[in-house]
């Protein structure tokens, strides 16, 4: 969505115009669904719950949306991220995560290679449910702006120009922020999986 359209929607939201809200909803509802589905890996009903809570919360606070604090997508994703976090809290400490960490710890030295990028990760591992769980839990720990960039770039395959427009920054700024986001992801992933190995050692 270009800057002019964003501005018009923001003005409409402030003035309480339903057509502005509908414009926003139509522009982002599909995208929000897909990104929530990717980030959570949840089933349709859970994704629907999160999307619903996100849009209802957004509808209630849309009149206070401040364009100077970011784009509409920034704002919407910020709300979605909170709803995803709430969902994680509701479902409790993940048994699935515990299993995923145990799986990671059982890879017998392949982890280092996988994280160093020195060798191809076997497809069976890449497609494993456990790895996806670890990746999603790592993403959930990142700040909303890093999360949004990584999802757009590597899960949506969005071109940099489009990301720049949605986030409201220049393409070169997207690149440098993405570099920081990747480093943050890698560190968070290492922490998440490291603690699982430590835990296994203690249990032994």
């Amino acid at each position: 969505m270009d800057e002019q359209a964003q501005r018009e929607i923001a003005q409409g939201l402030e003035a309480g115009k339903p057509d502005a809200w509908l414009h926003l909803y139509e522009a982002y509802s599909q995208q929000l669904w897909l990104d929530v589905a990717r980030v959570t890996g949840a089933d349709s009903s859970t994704v629907a719950d999160i999307v619903q809570e996100t849009f209802l919360a957004a509808a209630r606070s849309a009149g206070h949306f401040a364009p100077r604090r970011g784009t509409l997508w920034n704002w919407l994703w910020g709300i979605a991220r909170n709803q995803v976090a709430l969902q994680y809290r509701k479902t409790g400490p993940a048994e699935e995560l515990r299993r995923a960490r145990a799986w990671w710890a059982s890879l017998n030295g392949q982890q280092r290679e996988m994280l160093s990028g020195q060798s191809e990760t076997p497809p069976a591992q890449l497609e494993s449910r456990e790895l996806a769980t670890l990746v999603r839990n790592t993403l959930a720990q990142l700040p909303a702006d890093y999360q949004m960039l990584l999802v757009a770039k590597y899960m949506d395959d969005a071109p940099t120009a489009r990301i720049a427009s949605e986030v409201g920054i220049s393409p070169s700024a997207v690149d440098s922020r993405l570099a920081r986001a990747r480093r943050a992801f890698r560190r968070a992933f290492a922490r998440l999986t490291q603690s699982s190995r430590d835990a296994r050692k203690v249990r032994k």
Binding site: K17, A58, V151
Partner: protein, 419 residues
Amino acid sequence: MSNHGHNEDRTEQVVSTLLSAAGKDPVPPDEAFLERLSGETVRAFIAASARRPKRFRGYRIMHSRTVKWLIPVAAAAAVVIVVGLWPGGNGKGVVLADVIQRLRSAHTVTCRSTFSVTGSVVGTANYMFWGDHLMRTETSDGLIYISDGAAGRGLLLDSRKKTAAPFEQIPSRFDFYKTLMEFRDGTETPLGTKRIQGRDAVGFLLPGTGGNASVWIDTRTRLPIRLEAKATGTDGQEQTITVEHFVLDAPLDESLFSLSIPEGYTEHPVRVSEIDQKLSGNRSTGKVDEAGQRVYVSAAERAREMTLRTRSLTALRNILTACIRYSGDHDGQWPEDLNSLEAYGIKAESLANPRLPDAAVGWVYRRPVVPAGRLRNAPKTVLIHEPLDPWDDGVHVGFADGHVEFVNNRDRIEKLLAE
């Protein structure tokens, strides 16, 4: 390539691989669900937008008049509402216009009143307003009155005796609503300026109040600094109410407005007339004078009317939103008639106007001849309105930009329709 660049590349490769794999094959969007959610979110948006401006603060007043000695308190508080609803903008109304804006954008308002009889203070009360229909009054002798204007219900608590009396009617006879409707822009009388609490204030005598209500506005903050209202009892004693200490957007807990009986209280049902009598006690100085009686009508009846008006407003908003959605789906073209909106959740029964259940025509639809994108002035283009006849207090009007107004000036609506 430098080591740093090499590491960056590897990091990108790892992160890209991990995220791409995890993000594969998300559950596809449930189109039917998103379509249903669309309507739900529009309603939530409209409801939230309606709560922000305080166009209907008049509710508060109608439901605040529980006791005879509180009547002037409500009268003064009503002045706030009057100012909040004032159309404004006639040159000398610059200050009023600012006040309107401030009050409309406030979500909560608190203020404190003092009631005097022939110059002696006989009671005080704290007022809390939440949104456009909830009000809580706490009197200095331990009575708490909570009202929900939209629901037409109230709860009277005696904090000393720990008794609670819920009721469905609003036990009040003072109707400021009519007074409100009689106000016309430019009919206020300037009272000049004076210093109040060390601050410069500009005053206005408000019409329709028998010349007995005035509002003083702080010239610096553009907020009401003092409201004064006077009435004379049949015993000739002068009753005065002064409302001060206005705070906008004070952090209030919504539970303060709950109509549930609090823990520790015993329900003690009483009839409405008894509540009135009970609250009046010995403080009543009798009926107000004739000028005041001009605006005394059955508040219970008025509460019912206002409830219907709220329902009508909601119905109109739903129809209007459906029209706008229809237009969005049809290259800006407007529906031929309101019956074309069934696919947008507006069924035949939804087209009945709750205020006019027996009318042959509940809503008048004016289909613009040009598509939505080519309307020259959507905020002033009337799309749907209630029938003008029989003219009562006014009509709800829905505009092409999606906003709804209650227009109480017949000349104005006729001018809008002519345009």
